[in-house]
Amino acid sequence: MSHGGKLVHAVREILVKDNSSQAGNVGRTHAAGRIIREAALVAILGAAFAFAANQVSPLGLALTRDYFPAGTASPAQPAVAGTNSGAVTPAQFLAEQMKEKGLQLLEDGKAARLFHDPRFKQDIIVFIDARDEEHYQQGHIPGAYEFDPYRPEKYFDTVLPVCQKAEQVVVYCNGGDCDDSESAAILLRDVGISNQKLFIFGGGITEWTANNQPVETGARNSGNLRKPNP
């Protein structure tokens, strides 16, 4: 029996009644065939509707864009409990991953030192927040530039000249298994920002807030600072 035949048979089996069809097996087979044709029509119309809605929606995705320039494979799976002592630490693993992608991971505690460096005030050291607008507004490293790697066209005009002028560009996202900072760094590298000055702050905003560093809410330089806990 062909696949189509099997499907007709399966649908026919679960039909209880069909008022508009003739009684008996022939009628049920016709009804099943109609339902399958109707499902195919729904699928075609639904697909057309879906593509059109994506095109029209301001939030729609660009179908041909590679949103994960850092690699399409998903982030690492959670570590298995009870690994032996010879295993690499998460930090080492992350550093190795960055190295493979030609990116540099910022050393522990370096992000805070760069933030308090006087060169930060002159935009010689720049922080780039690679999260979406909603998260950026909720709280970011004070003075960090917003750069959502999934909507880069919206931010290039502001961020590119700043990164070109800067000597060190620190890119961060949420931390943990978030790899949006890598995607943002690769996007910046692809448009000509030197690899040598791009650094990934692996701990991201999670580590930043955990270390009681200040957080700014709203727009960049809004002055709305959430003070660290005493």
Partner: protein, 167 residues
């Protein structure tokens, strides 16, 4: 007396079937919209499944699936092409449920925790959920779709069948 009981039970079945159709339609409308309004989040979640290495395929699936669910949800709420829509939903539910199950089994093995304690955001539109709850929900959606496929829920339909039988 018996006729009265039969007629009441028929009414109860019909009302339940219409409610089931509206419930199924509302669930798909909600799940579709919650993903369509956050396409990047959905893209990241779908990427977890390693379905494809092709950005075009991954983007197309992410961009269309939520709106497709919205479309099916609307058809069910309005009562248009109900049986065809129910069959489409069943054809969609089965592979997606198997994918979610596969990922849950991977996490169950990797984290060495009981299967029902596995909790993750499957990209289904409800955020982080316990796997056993998610599978039960999908089973319910499957059962409702099967009931509609069987011809229930005709009342208050704009056009229950799009393709009419030939005379």
């Amino acid at each position: 007396m018996k006729t009265g009981q039969t007629s009441w039970s028929r009414v109860a079945v019909n009302v339940s079937a219409v409610l089931a159709r509206w419930l199924l339609g509302a669930v798909f409308l909600y799940m579709g919209l919650s993903k369509a309004l956050h396409p990047v989040d959905f893209l990241k979640l779908l990427r977890q499944y390693d379905l494809t290495q092709s950005p075009l395929l991954l983007n197309s699936l992410t961009a269309t699936l939520p709106w497709f669910e919205v479309f099916c949800g609307l058809l069910l709420l309005l009562g248009i092409a109900v049986r065809g829509t129910a069959l489409t939903l069943i054809v969609m539910l089965v592979p997606f449920t198997l994918l979610v199950l596969h990922r849950a089994l991977l996490l169950h093995t990797a984290l060495a925790i009981p299967f029902c304690a596995v909790k993750f955001d499957c990209g289904c539109g409800n955020g982080t959920e316990l796997i056993c709850r998610k599978l039960s929900e999908n089973l319910l959606l499957f059962a409702l779709s099967a009931a509609l496929l069987a011809g229930r829920g005709r009342q208050f339909s704009l056009r229950f069948s799009l393709i009419k039988p030939s005379a």
